[in-house]
Symmetry: C2
């Protein structure tokens, strides 16, 4: 909503704390504090997983009081959602660029974009944290569904003109997520060491087929 | 090696305990004990993940002494490998059936086989346990790599006649694993509620294309 929207927490998913006020964009020291809390949250969720991470642990890593974490973000689920949203910040804004241009190149643009984010260790770390948490915890899976599905995949689907366009986008995403998992998480060979261009060459037509094929 | 080989533990991955004797096929009470330990292991790994699961916890759930778990299986990694091997028992024997018959139907047979295993809650539970552990822990990922990659995927690859056949099989598996993850773990809609036949119809040609396409 504001110029700093990627830093704002996700829309409150738990009604219990929806009365908190944290819509105002942070400035100066509080922006630093928020960033530090989010960085600590990413680290904690990544290393410990969703279940073992606590708001107190995040606060400790960030060097702040737990109350401040609650003040800025609310519940653990909401801290997670905010961390996911920051991690997906570039991704959530990318679909427009990915979906721009001729539809017959969208498969390659999407494949390059998703694998590119995974290829970079800096952007891979938060994705890995999210994936790990989502696979292990129903609440985290819900955050993943809400943010990634509704904000990322739906925006790609909107560009398509087919009755089953949401299913098409999800199966295309399944190919890319599965590929990222085998290559970067499970590290299956020869996929893990294969040249990125070789993978794009094989995967882009599949993504394209899912999105615009018969 | 024996008629009961699916019940035998995986080849010892840790040299430390390779001196243990546990090659003899169990009979009577000890077979029951082994099965009980493996069932407890699956339950523990599934609920707690690899890191939080201990040999002591498995022993407690199975109602036996920790020493007995060590006696039958060795280290935690070896218990995990044995549990994975039992869980993948049908899958590890299936590729022959999947790869049998004309190559131009292998995509559909493989898609039906993998999604069928995930569709059944009984066979899904151990797969989920393995996936969760492999995503979260490097040792568990190693077991996944060794068993699934070398025993399952390689056997499909052997049927193909292409220089990059291993990469092809892994990208086909990536589509199926990604699909299973989105449908059964993340539960992304509309994929989670879609008719299985609709998914097979879309995914089988992709798997086929990876395996035998240009």
């Amino acid at each position: 909503m504001t110029a700093r929207s990627p830093r704002n927490p996700a829309p409150a998913p738990a009604p219990a704390s929806s009365s908190r006020r944290r819509g105002r964009p942070p400035r100066g020291e509080s922006a630093d504090t928020r960033d530090r809390i989010l960085a600590a949250a990413r680290e904690e969720f990544s290393e410990r997983g969703y279940d073992k991470t606590s708001v107190r642990g995040i606060a400790k890593t960030a060097g702040v009081d737990s109350a401040l974490v609650h003040h800025y973000f609310g519940t653990k689920e909401q801290v997670f959602a905010a961390a996911v949203e920051v991690a997906f910040g570039p991704a959530l804004n990318a679909p427009e660029a990915v979906a721009e241009g001729p539809l017959d190149g969208v498969g390659e643009r999407l494949a390059r974009f998703v694998l590119g984010v995974w290829e970079n260790p800096v952007t891979r770390a938060p994705l890995l944290a999210i994936l790990r948490s989502a696979v292990n915890n129903e609440t985290a899976a819900g955050v993943f569904r809400r943010l990634v599905a509704s904000q990322l995949l739906r925006r790609v689907a909107e560009q398509l003109d087919a009755p089953d366009r949401e299913l098409r986008v999800e199966l295309a995403a399944a190919q890319l997520v599965g590929c990222a998992m085998m290559r970067y998480v499970i590290k299956l060979e020869p996929l893990a060491s294969a040249d990125l261009e070789q993978i794009v060459a094989r995967v882009a037509p599949v993504v394209q087929g899912h999105l615009t094929g018969p």
